[in-house]
Subunit: 435 residues, 2 copies
C-alpha cells in the first residue's frame, strides 16, 4: 500500500514542492531533536510529533523541582527551535498507533483523530518511570520524567516546608520535613543533594517555627553503589560528599512497602526500616514507552528486558535504545545516526553502517561547586567535576538565551543563595493540597 | 477582653522578648509589603498573613500571561523578602473572620483553624475581579488578578495557537485565533498590545498551517476613552498606537451577553456585535475583598460604591482604599502611612495625620518601545513613555535578582523576539484542554 499523503494542502513555505520523501519523528526529546537537526541537510520533509509543545532538557528537571530554573528555561517550544526549518512541521498530539504495513501513524490531536503517512519513521519516544509492578507506589512517590512531574514536586517540596511551619504536632512536623529519594543514579543523587542545599542554604532564616536545615533527606539505593556507572572511586566520592552534607544513605536497600506518608525499606541483611515522609521521589527505574512494544509486536521485532526495541546495528528500523543506557547522549547520537542513515539511503547508499556509541560520560551534581564527572577517561569529583558539569550543560542547553538565562540563575543560586521559583500556585496556593 | 497571645511558644529569634505590641497585617500585596517594611523601624512584632506564599507584582501579571516572565520573577516568596526581619512572622493561610471586639483573627491553615490575636491590625487584602453581577461570565472570560489567573491565561493563549494549527475547520480556526480583552484600563491596554506583539513577532515562522500574525485582537471599553486616568491626549495616543498595531478597538461598548466562545457587545447607538472568540480576558472591574465589607458590618464603618472600607483620614482604623484608584502606588503609600501611624501612637503621639496620596502617575505599555506614561506633570507616549515605564518597573521590582532577571528577559523579548515561558503543562500538554 502506498503511503497516505501527509495532507494535501500541507503548506511548506520553503517552496520546494519537489521534496517527496517524508520522515516522521515521534518524540521531541534529545533523540528526536538531534534526528531533526541532522535531517536539515537532507532533502526530506519532516514531521515531528510529540505529546507536549516543548523539547525537555531532562537532566535539569531536578533544578525545576527545587526552584532554581523556570519551566521555560529547560523546555523551549519545539516549533520555535525549528522556526527557520521550513520543510518541517511540528505536531502536538498523542500517537495512538503505528501501522507499519500501511506506513501510517494515528495521532489524537485535541480530541480529534488524524492519520499521518510516512516514508521513513524514527521512533524516539523515550522512557517512562516504572515502579516495577508496584503501580500503587506512583501516587505516593512522584516520578521525575516530565515538566508536570517537576512542577508537582516543586509545589510538594516547598509546600511541605510551609505545612511544617504551620504544624504544631511534632511527629507530623518531622514527617513533613522528611524527604525520601528512591534510586541512587545521577537523578537521585542530584535530587538528594539539592534537597539538602535547599534546606541548608536557600531557606535559611525563612522560617520562625521550624529550622529548615534540620530536614531529613534519605537516599535509597538497591545496589551497593551510588552512580554505579561512574566507577567505584566516584561512587565512593558521591557517597562521602552526600553524607558530609547530611544525606542519610541506605545502600543494598529495597522499598518493600509504601503507603501514604510511609515507606518501608528492607536491607540486605533482612532488617527493615520504616520512614515517615510526606515527600517521596522515585528515580529508581525507567521503562521504554509502550509504543515500542506495540510496534515490535506488529513487526515481529525483539524487545529487550526493559521493553526497548532491539534494533538493527545501523538503527535502520527505528531509532531506539538497545543495550545502552537510557541517557541523553545515547539518544542524541542514535537520533543523528538514524537521520544520517535515511540521508544515505536516499542517495542510493544502502550499505549498513553500525551505530557506535561514543560514551562522552556521566555527570552528577552533589552540591554547589561539587559534582562527580566521568568524561572520557577523566573521572573527577569535587570542584573540577562541577566545572565540567557546568561546561557540558551550558554547551548542550538548547538556544543561546537559555544558556545565558540558566547561567544567571546558577549564579543566583550557587554564588548567592536564592531560589527564583518558589511561588505556590493552583490548589497549593491557599494552603490546601490538591488531590 | 484582652488580646489573645499570638502563641505562647512563638519563637522570635531576634531575642527581643520585651517587644509586646503585635501588629497583624492581612495581605502580602503592595499595601502589606510596604506596611511591613515601614514597621521594621518600629519596636513591634509583626505577623503578615496571606493566602499565597508570595508577594505578587501585579502590574506585570500580563507579562506572565504572555510568556515573557516566569512566575517566580514577579512573585518572590514573602518569607524570603523578610528573612532578616527577625521579629516578623509570615503565615500562609486564609483569613476567615476578623473579630474586632476580641482583637483576634480566625485563620484557616492547610485545613486547620488557628486564632491569632493582635494589638493593631492592618487590612490590605486588595481587590478581586468583579463581573458586575454577571458571575456566569467568569468561566468564559478569565480575570487577571492572581498568579493562577495569569498561568491559566498563558496556557489558554499558547494553547489556542496550537489548537488553531491543528484545526481544519476555517470558522473554528478563526474563533481560536480571536482574543477579546474587556476593559480599556492600563491592564487591558497592555494585554491587548502584548497579544498583538506575540502574534506578530514572537510566534513568527513558528507555524505552518496558520499565520499567527493574522490573529484578531479586540479591545472593548465601556467609556469613550482608553486609559482614561491618563488624560485625553494619552488616551488618543494609546488608541492610535494600538490601532496601528492592528488591535480592533470598540469604545462606548458594553458586554451584554457571553457564552462559551461567543461574546455580544452593544454599542452606544444600540447596535450589537457578536464576536466568536476562544479566549477572553476580563480586566473591566475590581471590587474590594469581601473581608472589608464583613469587618465594616461588624464595626459600623461605611463602605464606598466598590465595597471598599471608608477609613479615617489617617488610615487609623485600617489600611484600605477610599476614593483613590485601586493601584499599586496607593497601596504602597497608604500601607506605609498606616505603619507610621502605629509607630507614632506607640510613642504616645495620638495626633491624627491625614494621608495624602502623592500621585506618582500611571503607565501602560503599548508595544515594545512604546508606552503611555503620566508621571507627575509629565505626560508622554512612544519611546519616552516606554523608557519611563522601564525605569519605574525596574525600581519597584522587589529584590535585586528579580530586577536583573526581568531586564534580561525584556532584552530577549523586546530587542530579540523570543518568549521564554511557552511550555504547556497540566491538561494542556497533551492537547486536551483541562475543564
Amino acid at each position: 500500500m502506498k503511503p497516505t499523503p501527509l495532507k494535501e494542502n500541507w503548506n511548506f513555505p520553503s517552496g520546494e514542492p519537489d521534496i517527496r520523501h517524508h520522515v516522521v519523528i515521534i518524540g521531541s526529546g534529545f533523540g528526536g531533536l538531534f534526528a531533526a537537526r541532522a535531517l536539515r541537510r537532507v532533502r526530506v520533509r519532516v514531521t515531528l510529533i510529540d505529546r507536549t509543545n516543548h523539547h525537555l532538557f531532562q537532566p535539569l528537571l531536578y533544578q525545576v523541582a527545587t526552584g532554581i530554573l523556570s519551566e521555560g528555561q529547560i523546555a523551549p517550544a519545539t516549533r520555535d527551535i525549528f522556526r527557520n526549518y521550513d520543510s518541517m512541521h511540528v505536531v502536538v498530539g498523542e500517537v495512538q498507533q503505528i501501522i507499519p504495513d500501511e506506513h501510517t501513524i494515528e495521532v489524537s490531536q485535541f480530541g480529534g483523530p488524524r492519520t499521518i503517512g510516512y516514508d521513513s519513521l524514527i521512533v524516539a519516544c523515550g522512557s517512562n518511570t516504572t515502579y516495577f509492578g508496584h503501580d500503587d507506589y506512583r501516587k505516593n512517590a512522584s516520578g521525575m520524567k516530565s515538566l508536570d512531574d517537576a512542577l508537582f514536586l516543586r509545589s510538594k517540596i516547598f509546600g511541605a516546608f510551609e505545612r511544617a511551619e504551620a504544624e504544631e504536632d511534632e511527629e507530623r512536623r518531622a514527617e513533613l520535613m522528611t524527604f525520601v529519594v528512591i534510586g541512587g543514579g545521577p537523578t537521585g543523587v542530584e535530587m538528594a543533594g539539592q534537597l539538602k542545599e535547599l534546606s541548608r542554604r536557600a531557606l535559611r532564616c525563612n522560617y520562625r517555627q521550624i529550622n529548615p536545615a534540620s530536614a531529613r533527606v534519605v537516599l535509597i539505593e538497591g545496589t551497593d553503589r551510588l552512580v554505579a556507572s561512574m566507577g567505584e572511586r566516584l561512587s565512593r566520592i558521591a557517597a562521602r560528599d552526600l553524607s558530609r552534607m547530611g544525606v542519610e544513605i541506605h545502600l543494598h536497600a529495597m522499598v518493600t512497602a509504601m503507603q501514604d506518608r510511609v515507606v518501608e525499606i528492607t536491607r540486605a541483611d533482612g532488617s527493615t526500616l520504616r520512614i515517615d515522609a510526606a515527600t517521596m521521589v522515585w528515580t529508581a527505574g525507567t521503562e521504554a514507552s509502550p509504543l515500542g512494544a506495540e510496534l515490535a509486536a506488529r513487526t515481529g521485532v525483539d524487545l529487550d528486558r526493559a521493553g526497548r526495541v532491539r534494533v538493527a546495528p545501523d538503527c535502520s528500523l527505528l531509532m531506539a535504545l538497545d543495550d545502552l543506557p537510557g541517557v541523553a547522549e545515547v539518544a542524541m547520537q542514535s537520533g543523528a545516526h538514524a537521520a544520517h542513515t535515511i540521508g544515505r539511503r536516499l542517495k542510493g547508499d544502502d550499505a549498513m553502517r553500525a551505530f557506535h556509541y561514543h560514551d562522552l560520560g556521566t555527570l552528577a551534581v552533589i552540591s554547589r561547586f561539587r559534582a562527580c564527572a566521568k568524561v572520557g577517561p577523566i573521572k573527577v569529583g569535587g570542584l573540577p567535576g562541577w566545572l565540567l558539569w557546568l561546561v557540558v550543560h551550558v554547551t548542550f542547553l538548547t538556544g543561546f538565551k537559555n544558556r545565558v538565562g540558566a547561567m544567571a540563575r546558577w549564579a543566583v543560586s550557587f554564588i548567592g543563595r536564592g531560589r527564583y521559583e518558589r511561588a505556590l500556585t493552583g490548589g497549593w496556593a491557599s494552603g490546601s493540597e490538591p488531590s
